[in-house]
Each structure stands twice: as C-alpha cells, then as structure tokens.
C-alpha cells in the first residue's frame, strides 16, 4: 500500500525534467539488459527464479523499463528539492520510465545486502514515488494490492514499506515517468 502525501507540481516543474530526459540516451533495464546494480545479488537471483516459474522468460521483450540517474542523467538539484519537499535525507533516487508496451514484473526494490545493511543502520528507510508526467490512458502502478491509476502530475505517495512488492505496466500510448526516492525521514 501507499499513502497519498500531496501534489508537488507547484514546487517542482516536472515537465522541465521530462523534457530534458527525452533528449538524452537512457539506461535500459530488464530482459537482455546489463544489470550492474543487481549482479550477484542473491535476493535478485531468487527473484529471477520466481519470475521464471511464473512464466516470464528471457524472450519476453515487454519486460523492460528505463532508468535515469541523478548526476549521470539529470541534475541532483531535483533530488535536493524533492528531499526538502518531503522533509527527508536522500539515500538514493532515480527516474523510471515505462514506454507503451513495457511491463515491470512484480518485485521488491533490492539493493546489495551490504548496502541495505548500511542504510538500515542509519534508521528506517522511507520510499516515495512521484508521478511526474501528465496522466495518460493505460499507465498503471501497483504497490502490493494498491493500484495507482490516473494520478495527477506531481502527485506523491509514501510506501508503507520501502521494499513493498510492486510492478507496473503501460498499455497506453504515452511514456510514463516516475521519480523514485529512498531516504530517511527527518
């Protein structure tokens, strides 16, 4: 589940970030993509087995998404401003994009075990998602049993648990963009 926090669009002009991201090459994730974060992570290896048992296979071209990272793809000022808005210290942020026809299979967001341990030693991790694009038909995000559909641009949700199982898909005609945030609540 996730709780609606508010709309951030008056504080952050998310359209400007999307216009910037549309102009730069992204990092593709999912089947057939280099996975530099999860390589050798036992939790992810177990997850991939779960996907395979459910019927996802390496030939499923739809099981893909795109990530954009601060510093590498966009200015960290976006992270700083969002952190202020939700009153948090940031741990990690990224923008994910799901183009039409892409599916993000059911999963928790795992970090490498040593990083999870380090983060948790500083306190409980919070997970926020901001829907940064205008809503469009067919764009669905699911957190546990909670489907989020047709959110307004700038709507922010706080997850019940930072590692809630979730997934998403885009059956529409426009790319969906989300700003994802891990951090510590002040």
């Amino acid at each position: 589940m996730a709780t609606y926090i508010g709309n951030s669009n008056k504080t952050m002009k998310w359209e400007d970030l999307i216009n910037h991201l549309k102009l730069i090459p992204p990092r593709l994730r999912g089947n057939d993509q280099e996975d530099d974060i999860h390589l050798g992570n036992p939790k992810v290896e177990k997850l991939i087995k779960i996907w395979e048992n459910a019927g996802y296979d390496k030939n499923n071209a739809a099981a893909k998404w795109i990530d954009y990272l601060p510093y590498e793809h966009f200015s960290n000022v976006w992270v700083e401003n969002f952190s202020k808005w939700i009153n948090c210290e940031p741990a990690g942020c990224w923008v994910s994009a799901v183009p039409p026809g892409y599916i993000v299979p059911w999963h928790p967001d795992y970090k490498m075990p040593n990083q999870e341990k380090e983060w948790l030693s500083k306190g409980p991790i919070v997970h926020y998602t901001c829907y940064i694009c205008e809503p469009s038909f067919g764009q669905v995000s699911i957190i546990e049993n909670h489907a989020i559909y047709d959110p307004k641009q700038g709507d922010v949700y706080r997850w019940d648990d930072w590692q809630n199982w979730h997934g998403g898909l885009n059956m529409g005609l426009e790319t969906k963009y989300m700003f994802n945030f891990f951090g510590w609540q002040k």
Binding site: W106, N145, Y149, M171
Partner: protein, 96 residues
C-alpha cells in the same frame, strides 16, 4: 438478456492487451435485434498485478465473481499482467 457473444480472456504474467475497442463483425445484426450491452466478470483469484482498464477506471484485485456493466460496448479498454499468476475474465455481449 440474450447472449450475442461470450468469451473468456486469459492474460499470462508479462503479457498485455494494448488500448483497443472490441470490434465485432456481426454488430449490425445484434443492433437490429435490440440494445447491445457489455458486461465483464473477474473470475480468477484476485492476485496482485493483473489489471483491467476501461476508460478512466482501473480494476485491480477484484474479487472473483465481481461483474461490471460497461457504459458502452465500444469503450476503449486494455488489460495486462505484471504479476505472477494468470488473470481470467469472462466477457459477455448481450442484446436487451
């Protein structure tokens, strides 16, 4: 309600049906017999990840047996599954 057509759709994990209308080659014949009405029933267990979208409504984790009447039989819709279990739906096109 007279049944014009009925079918079951199955969406496996990782699959989807993009936005579309259901076009029926025999629709003129159905319309000549009366008002055409569309229903959909969620028939599988409500596993997370299986979704159905019709116009601006998203249906997720619907209890098995939940049935909805569409505003119009030609409404744009889509269905997909980012979960771990198959999703089944029963669809009914009726003539009133």
């Amino acid at each position: 309600m007279k049944c014009a057509r009925a079918w079951i759709s199955k969406i496996r994990p990782g699959k989807y049906a993009p936005i579309h209308q259901d076009i029926d080659d025999n629709i003129e014949e159905y319309l000549s017999q009366g008002e055409v009405i569309r229903f959909s029933t969620f028939i599988s267990h409500p596993y997370p990840g299986g979704v159905f979208v019709c116009k601006n409504q998203c249906f997720h984790c619907e209890l098995s047996g939940n049935t909805y009447q569409w505003d119009h039989y030609l409404d744009y819709h889509a269905g997909g599954n980012c979960g771990l279990h198959d999703q089944f739906m029963f669809h009914f096109l009726g003539i009133k």
